[in-house]
Subunit: 423 residues, 2 copies
Amino acid sequence: MKIQKVTGDLTLKRSVDSGTEEQRATVQSIIHTVRSQGDRALRELTEKFDGARMFSLKVTQEEVNEAYEQLPKQMIDIIKEAADNIFTFHQKQLRQTWMYTDQSGSILGQKMTPLDSAGVYVPGGTAAYPSSVLMNVMPAKVAGVKRVVMVSPPGRDGRLPAGVLVAADIAGVKEIYKVGGAQAVAALAYGTETIRSVDKITGPGNIYVALAKREVFGDVDIDMIAGPSEIAVLADDTACPREIAADLLSQAEHDPRASSVLVTTSERLAEETAAEVERQLKELPREEIARASIDSYGSIYVAKDMEKAVETINQLAPEHLEIMTEHALQIVKDIRHAGAIFVGRYSSEPIGDYFAGPNHVLPTNGTARFSSPLNVDDFMKKSSIIMYSEQAYNKNYQKIAAFARLEGLEAHARAVEIRAEKK
Amino acid sequence: MKIQKVTGDLTLKRSVDSGTEEQRATVQSIIHTVRSQGDRALRELTEKFDGARMFSLKVTQEEVNEAYEQLPKQMIDIIKEAADNIFTFHQKQLRQTWMYTDQSGSILGQKMTPLDSAGVYVPGGTAAYPSSVLMNVMPAKVAGVKRVVMVSPPGRDGRLPAGVLVAADIAGVKEIYKVGGAQAVAALAYGTETIRSVDKITGPGNIYVALAKREVFGDVDIDMIAGPSEIAVLADDTACPREIAADLLSQAEHDPRASSVLVTTSERLAEETAAEVERQLKELPREEIARASIDSYGSIYVAKDMEKAVETINQLAPEHLEIMTEHALQIVKDIRHAGAIFVGRYSSEPIGDYFAGPNHVLPTNGTARFSSPLNVDDFMKKSSIIMYSEQAYNKNYQKIAAFARLEGLEAHARAVEIRAEKK
């Protein structure tokens, strides 16, 4: 890994992948076809793209039962325990409706209501992660969303991976459809004979899925478009190069475009970590992917002091941040931009991916500047409540009418005045 | 207004305005020009579209002072009082960072951090509303956003309306630029020599502004793309047709595409309200706009009972909902989808537009199914905190490694195991 000194400001040059003209056109055409032809289009596109001829798109209870039989009992228990931890953490995010009465007797408030329905996209093939099923579904369940639907492209055998089905069942998903790609997003957004439309679509996917989500955004809500995964480690002289290297590589193995960065105040640590990364790389089954990622997007920055190091982290706004320093928890208050912050040596990043409880769907690509981990708020919406009292009305209606007239909106002024006329 | 019985489900056919191919191309070209030419492009485009030759884009303190002199003292006081009310309500939305320690001694939490910066777009001409300045800026201020920037297209005289400048000053905006359209959005998203980029762009605008916001979404955050305004009134026999008609017309005067709907259980009220709308329409200065709106998008629905009426409202998912019935507050709990809910006869909708405190930037076009009023959360983001304890690590690392291997991610498994090896 390249070691460099932090001199000026770090600027990230990466941007959202908007796809090619051709990809955009393909996605628009698929959406149009699904809207006009419904289930028939889903079947034809699934045969075309996934090589599976589907009689029924819906996963049966039998398939779920078989999935349970395929997984070791111990693995099922681990998934259940992870689901419990995720549930517990997300429950702390749940907010209630509130109202208050002000001095004039008016009631003001904010009503919290879960979405009616949500759809979770789960990628196919090797990216079909049971953990992602839990992380996308549990916040919706905690929010109180009644109808949570899952879609995922089947293998050539017309089936979904056992781990994915078991995770979905543990998370409480009752409706699972074997369909993927832009066609699945279109079905979730606009509905077909079999799949009723939902209010929000979440979950990762390839470029076609991402473009389809962008395309339907506004008709339904979507989560952020995820980019490649990122980790930044902030470490001082007290941290362990072997552990840092292992954590950097756990991101690097995801994707050749994943980014793994160490920011440290210690030149010794920088050098030892670089050597450790090289040593551990050779032993990885996914060495090729991890090496491509480290070569292209891996960096070690040496900062002159912890203040400069922290500022560098804030410029990176990483998806995952590990703080491995003395008094690590005290540094958290200075971190302005990071999706998830892992504090201390026992908080290896995969602990958050699978088990601790906080969500692993996190803002990538520097969007931690303005975005949050997937959370319960994403599956609820607010409605303002205004119950004006007669006293407040009498005191204020002339002011409100004056304000409306300043903006040239006479009917607004009259609407508030008309209540006074009547008396 | 047309009166009809509610029979089946109501489906809204409206959709997001995605603009024409030509409009999209224009916006892409403008964004490209601003990114490559900076301030020079802003000046040229402002001369081209707004007919104003600008020496300096930034509003001076002198211009703000002059604006105060142009407004009546009483009007300034009303704007200040409205700002106070908006501040008070939005403070109740402000959430704090939380952490808890679980049984194993691990610390889990959620850190709340304001965005570093936000940009507010204020439309020009007759749609330059001081109230919108307050409603967009105050939540950002309450959130703790340090840098709030405002942009608005100047008139031919190179100036902004006094009301807008005074509202911005009262709301605490220190940076105001006289530039509008897609070029202003591009400047906020990517920065120029004069305008530093921001993390989030909010505020309404014409189709070019809306398309530009869509285009930069991902590089910065945006608020929802607003559609035409909507009101639905839910009323029983106890309500007053004159007041309902006045409130319906206060929406109708905004835009020929605005939508005003009454849902009632009373046929008498339906007929009297229709007559009142006609009578009041004739007296409005903006009669032409309001009549076009009422003719195209105005409807009165008669439902067989209150349950059916409420279900109709939930299908409409209106931006504004007024409940004028007996025991109106009790009905609020049954409303699932509405941007703002106005309860009782004194809660005329313009009270919320200007003065009561809750935000008037609300989800339109049925998006209240999944969207919220602009609020303090929109200007903050969350970061998860995970500080795993040694005890939790020892108890769980093998489970986590097993989960990682189920997903085929060996480096993830090793990263958690390596902490144990060392001991």
